[in-house]
């Protein structure tokens, strides 16, 4: 626990330190504001004392003028103080958000492992916001302490017993409230979680609307939702009732405390120890002091939340790298495109040897899809082999700079995502100035996609390409991979979502476009394998055959099973 706290604290401190000017300004102005708020009841008391009681219009007007000055002061300091505080909060959150995204996208990877995208996105929005909010909480805390101090000084100068009563009584009161509400809070937290389920389930059912309708499960879904909603309602009602009674108890305690202050103050005033105006001030101050004091519990809660969020952020920022990149890796001048695996063991792979000559097109067929995944991870350096090595033009991949390696060896995975932007922007995302974009569009069959869309290549693609059908998405993704024009291109099942006619076209286009450049086709599709120079068959993690596709189809039973079953 304490160990996990440490990096979180570092994040928190960094976030506040980065905004120290705004935090200082906010704190200073916040102090001014609270002083003003504390003075308002005092001035009301003085106005009553020296104006109303004495019947002196001059005194009244004088104190009303003072009140005006106090108001102007507190109003402006609040306005600019809060602005500085909020600015500090949102700016700190913004910096954390960008830092998180930079870490997630770092070429070395490793930050996404074991975390769902939604969870990471949530850390980048909500957690970053909570950590930023700590800056504001600090300001509010400092300001509240000031209000408390001013109130204390005024009260003690008025009357020591009354001052002590208020000063000792208010924290006691808040402590009592805290004590009483603690069990309620704890209970309501778990209940709130249950209560939140109803909305989550509703969204989930709507997201699966097509599936529900496809099998006519709407009535079953509605019945289930009603049950969950009622369950949520029961939980919410319990939580809400607890909260309502907590509210009632706080009202009771505050009112009783006020009565006590009025009693002591009234007796002192009756004895003539304090003036009537002072009595009014004391009562009003007792009411006012509850404000800054209860701010403390808010500040405390914010800090606790901020700490928890900071720990989550620190965990992502400090996540171990999936692969280690050399700081001063070897540079690649001209990539020939010779790829070589020497005794690679990783995950399901066992001592795989594989050599691809420059310009060759090689198919890789795997009986178990896990072998394909493991191979691709090693080639993309999303992971390094446990044993053996992968070499490009005779250089071990681990000694190359990641950016250069990925420019030279492009691994286009089966589930590659498209991004928001136009179709053309997606296709040219990684294309150089003289990339064969036109040819890539034709070879990948994307020209047909462009033809059916009303705005052609300028059609906007929504997030992750969800506005396109699976087949369209796959062709656009292939066009993007081809347009990148990498020296070595590794394609993973690029045609699973397209029809046979289109697949045949894509296979032919691919062969033509990649002629003379190293291409690895990790696929079990015969249409694609037919255009390769030779095929390597992986079974149980090792290479069991290597030959031309046609010969393997005729001669190798396992191969035929994997490819044509």
């Amino acid at each position: 626990m304490s160990k996990a706290d440490l990096p979180g604290r570092h994040v928190l401190r960094g976030a506040v330190r980065g905004q120290r000017r705004d935090v200082a300004l906010g704190a200073l102005l916040g102090m001014g504001h609270q002083t003003g708020e504390a003075l308002v009841p005092v001035v009301i008391g003085l106005a009553i004392d020296e104006g109303v009681v004495d019947g002196d219009v001059g005194g009244l007007l004088m104190w009303l003028a003072v009140l005006a000055v106090v108001y102007v002061g507190l109003s402006y300091s609040f306005r600019f103080g809060a602005r500085a505080g909020e600015r500090a909060s949102v700016t700190a959150a913004h910096h954390l958000r960008t830092a998180l995204v930079e870490r997630v996208l770092a070429p070395e990877g490793g930050a996404c492992e074991g975390r769902l995208p939604g969870e990471l996105a949530n850390t980048a929005t909500e957690d970053a916001k909570r950590v930023g909010a700590v800056a504001m909480a600090l300001i509010v805390g400092i300001a509240a302490a000031t209000g408390l101090a001013v109130g204390a000084i005024v009260l003690l100068r008025m009357s020591v017993p009354l001052g002590l009563l208020v000063l000792l009584g208010t924290p006691l009161l808040l402590w009592l409230v805290h004590l009483l509400s603690k069990p309620l809070e704890r209970r309501s937290e778990t209940e709130q979680e249950r209560a939140a389920r109803a909305s989550g389930v509703a969204a989930d059912l709507v997201a699966g609307l097509r599936v529900l309708k496809g099998i006519g499960a709407e009535p079953a879904a509605v019945a289930r939702y009603r049950r969950i909603s009622q369950d949520s309602l029961t939980a919410t009602l319990r939580a809400a009732r607890a909260e309502a009674w907590q509210n009632g108890v706080v009202t009771m305690l505050t009112g009783s405390f006020l009565a006590l202050v009025a009693l002591v103050g009234g007796r002192l005033a009756a004895r003539g120890d304090i003036g009537l105006g002072e009595l009014v001030s004391a009562v009003a101050l007792a009411l006012f002091l509850i404000g800054p004091l209860s701010e403390f519990s808010w500040v405390y809660a914010e800090l606790a939340q901020g700490r928890a969020s900071a720990a989550r952020i620190a965990e992502v920022l400090g996540a171990g790298h999936a692969v280690r990149a050399p700081a001063d890796g070897s540079a690649l001048d001209r990539v020939e495109g010779r790829l070589r695996l020497r005794g690679v063991s990783y995950d399901s792979l066992r001592a795989v040897d594989l050599e691809v000559a420059p310009g060759e097109t090689v198919g890789v067929v795997t009986v178990d899809p896990a072998d394909a995944t493991a191979l691709l991870r090693c080639l993309a350096r999303r992971a390094d082999p446990a044993e053996g090595s992968v070499e490009l033009d005779g250089t071990d991949l681990t000694t190359l700079r990641l950016a250069e390696l990925r420019a030279a060896v492009l691994v286009a995975e089966h589930d590659a995502d498209l991004f928001e932007g136009s179709l053309l922007e997606n296709i040219t995302a990684a294309a150089g100035p003289d990339a064969p974009v036109e040819a890539a569009v034709t070879a990948s069959g994307t020209d047909e996609v462009v033809g059916t869309l009303p705005k052609g290549a300028d059609t906007e693609v929504t997030a992750r390409g969800r506005s396109l059908s699976g087949g369209q998405r796959q062709r656009v993704a292939l066009a993007r991979a081809l347009a990148a024009d990498a020296a070595v291109l590794v394609l993973h099942e690029p045609t699973t979502a397209v029809d046979a006619v289109t697949e045949a076209r894509m296979a032919a286009g691919l062969k033509e476009l990649r002629a003379g450049r190293t291409t690895l086709l990790v696929t079990n599709s015969p249409a694609l394998l037919a255009v390769t120079d030779r095929v390597v068959l992986l079974d149980r993690g090792t290479v069991v055959a290597a030959d031309a596709h046609e010969r393997l189809v005729h001669q190798h039973g396992t191969y035929r099973g994997a490819v044509l079953a």
Binding site: F78, G216, S229, A244, V249, L529, A530
Partner: protein, 592 residues
């Protein structure tokens, strides 16, 4: 494919929204009245505090006895206790009222949303309904939980306090009302700016979230294509626009408070001055003047709260209008016909269809699928396979021609009757969040555990399902254990077996898996459709090869039909496709 401006789901008018809110409250009228009365009582009791404090001031001025002051203080304690009890009781009544109504609203909404015709939802765009069920429902829930009770309480406090000031002396009320014009003007000024600004903020926050998900979920792709810089810039840009809009909102709110400070000062000065004048005239005591000043001072918090919450209430009303728009959508008046016999055959005659006028997708389709026959549709993308599948499934009526399923147009097989007759499974999949068994039971709520296992077993999913951390009780889907694409699709097939319809339409149901996964799924599809009439849109020819009959489509027409062997022998389009697919001359023996 509809790309023209999406036709959003309707939004209710303000009048209709208010009427719907009243309808929702009606069953709890007596609870509403009780809650209101108790809250008025709680507020009224609380207002005895200031006059009692004033009385202590007066007693001190008169040098009254200690006992007299103690009595007044004891009364103050009694007031506090009474106020505490009534507040606790009243607030719990208010929350019961709000939460029960909210539950009724969301249940009704979900029921209607799931009942909307798929075609209608598609026309609106998928995001519309999702946004309503998430953002709008939580907007309203937030309001019901926090804003509305607080707003009601503040308004009660304000009105009763002003009443109490009038009771002290009507001239105090006049003085206090001096602040009102400033407050009204401020509120107007604020709401006019806040509503569009908050709408803008929500859009920006949504865009930021979207970009983050896009970037984070696609991180592997970003790295592979070295798009790190571009994506960091995109996130930074969207995040910064959220920051800028937040600051704009902060400036607005702070300006709002500054104006309210002016109102506070004006009112306070006027009340104090009135107190001075009335005391001098002898028509009020110092204690009364004190009580009036304290009353006014205690109005600051509720007035500020009420003005700020007006905005929340307003956006909750807007959210409610969007929900009511959906719940008011007329139920498609479908003649709920039942299939005529148990033997389900499909007859398509003279079918033409176009999504956009002038862009025909299907021409003159005639097709009969006999009971129990498995027909595969083959053809290039855009040949019209999916459209034909949708028309047979009854997602929408054809523009011209007839589709009959067991003698009845499928669009007229209303409600549950349709689901017992025809099921449609597409490549769009979803795993329902929750235990795996719950997901499966959506297809057959009363299925026994053995039936669930049997269904999973038939699609070869039992082994992995049992190997999940908690077996079949493992929480899957959003927020739970993530299933791969082919497992998700296997789950869809298991649901199909449980739903057990006589007619099945599968639209590229194996597309999301890699080749190896697709082969396993094809076997599962074969078993899941066994004994049913089936129309299968296949993009893998190996799947078509096992069908009873293959229908080849091109440019919206049927160009060939026959068995695998017949078509191969015919040497036409299918034979060419098959040759390209298998790239061998003697694949006959490799068919499964």
């Amino acid at each position: 494919m509809s790309d023209s401006a999406a036709e959003l789901l309707p939004v209710a008018t303000p009048a209709r929204t208010r009427a719907a809110a009243a309808e929702l409250l009606r069953p709890q009228r007596s609870l509403a009245v009780t809650a209101f009365v108790v809250m008025v009582g709680a507020t009224a009791v609380g207002l005895l505090t200031q006059p009692l404090l004033g009385r202590i001031v007066d007693q001190a001025a008169e040098r009254a006895s200690v006992d007299a002051i103690t009595t007044t203080a004891a009364l103050l304690v009694a007031v506090a206790v009474a106020q505490g009890v009534t507040t606790g009781f009243g607030l719990s009544l208010v929350s019961r009222l709000g939460e029960t109504t909210l539950a009724r609203l969301r249940e009704r909404f979900v029921e209607r949303a799931l009942g909307l015709p798929l075609e209608r939802v598609e026309r609106a765009g998928a995001g519309d309904l999702t946004a309503r069920v998430t953002a709008d429902v939580s907007l309203i829930a937030e309001a019901v939980r926090n804003a509305l009770p607080e707003l009601a309480r503040s308004l009660l406090t304000i009105f009763l306090t002003l009443g109490a000031m009038a009771l002290l002396d009507w001239r105090f009320l006049l003085a206090a009302l001096l602040a009102v014009p400033v407050q009204v003007a401020t509120a107007r000024w604020y709401v006019a700016r806040a509503v569009p600004l908050y709408a803008e903020q929500r859009v920006a926050a949504g865009a930021q979230q979207q970009q983050l998900l896009d970037t984070v979920a696609g991180a592997a792709t970003v790295r592979a294509f070295r798009l790190e810089r571009q994506h960091t810039e995109r996130v930074t840009e969207r995040s910064w626009s959220v920051v800028a809009l937040t600051m704009k909102g902060v400036r607005l709110v702070l300006g709002f408070y500054s104006r309210l400070h002016i109102a506070e000062y004006l009112g306070l000065a006027a009340v104090l001055f009135t107190g001075y004048w009335l005391v001098r005239q002898g028509s009020a005591s110092v204690g009364t003047a004190t009580a009036a000043a304290l009353y006014f001072h205690s109005l600051f918090t509720p007035v500020n709260a009420a003005l700020v919450l007006l905005d929340d209430a307003q956006s909750a009303m807007a959210g409610l209008a969007r929900l009511v728009g959906v719940t008011d959508e007329p139920v498609a008046d479908r003649p709920q016909r039942r299939a005529e016999t148990g033997r389900v055959d499909v007859v398509v005659r003279g079918l033409h269809h176009a999504y956009r006028p002038g862009h025909p997708v299907l021409h003159d389709i005639d097709l009969t699928i006999r009971h129990g026959e498995r027909v595969a549709l083959v053809g290039a993308s855009g040949a019209g396979k999916t459209t034909l599948a949708r028309l047979v499934a009854g997602i929408q009526p054809p523009a011209e021609g007839t589709v009959l399923v067991d003698g009845v147009p499928p669009t007229e097989l209303g409600g549950p009757a349709a689901s017992r007759t025809v099921a449609l499974i597409t490549q769009e999949t979803h795993v329902f969040a929750g235990p795996l068994v719950d997901d499966l039971r959506l297809a057959k709520p009363d299925a026994t555990d053995d039936e669930l296992r049997a269904a999973l077993d038939r699609v070869d999913a039992l082994a992995w399902a049992e190997a999940l951390p908690d077996g079949l009780d493992t929480v899957v889907g959003d927020g739970g254990h993530r299933l791969t694409g082919d497992r998700t699709q296997a789950l869809a097939l298991a649901r199909l077996i449980l739903a057990d319809p006589p007619l099945v339409i599968l639209d590229e149901a194996t597309a999301e898996a890699g080749s190896a996964g697709a082969r396993a799924l094809e076997k599962a599809v074969a078993r899941a459709t066994d004994g049913r009439t089936a129309l299968i849109v296949a993009h893998r020819l190996s799947q078509a090869a096992t069908a009873d009959r293959i229908v080849v489509m091109d440019a919206g027409r049927i160009v060939e039909t026959g068995t695998h062997d017949e078509l191969r022998a015919a040497g036409g389009r299918y034979a060419a496709l098959w040759a390209a697919w298998s790239d061998t001359r003697d694949t006959r023996d490799t068919r499964p």
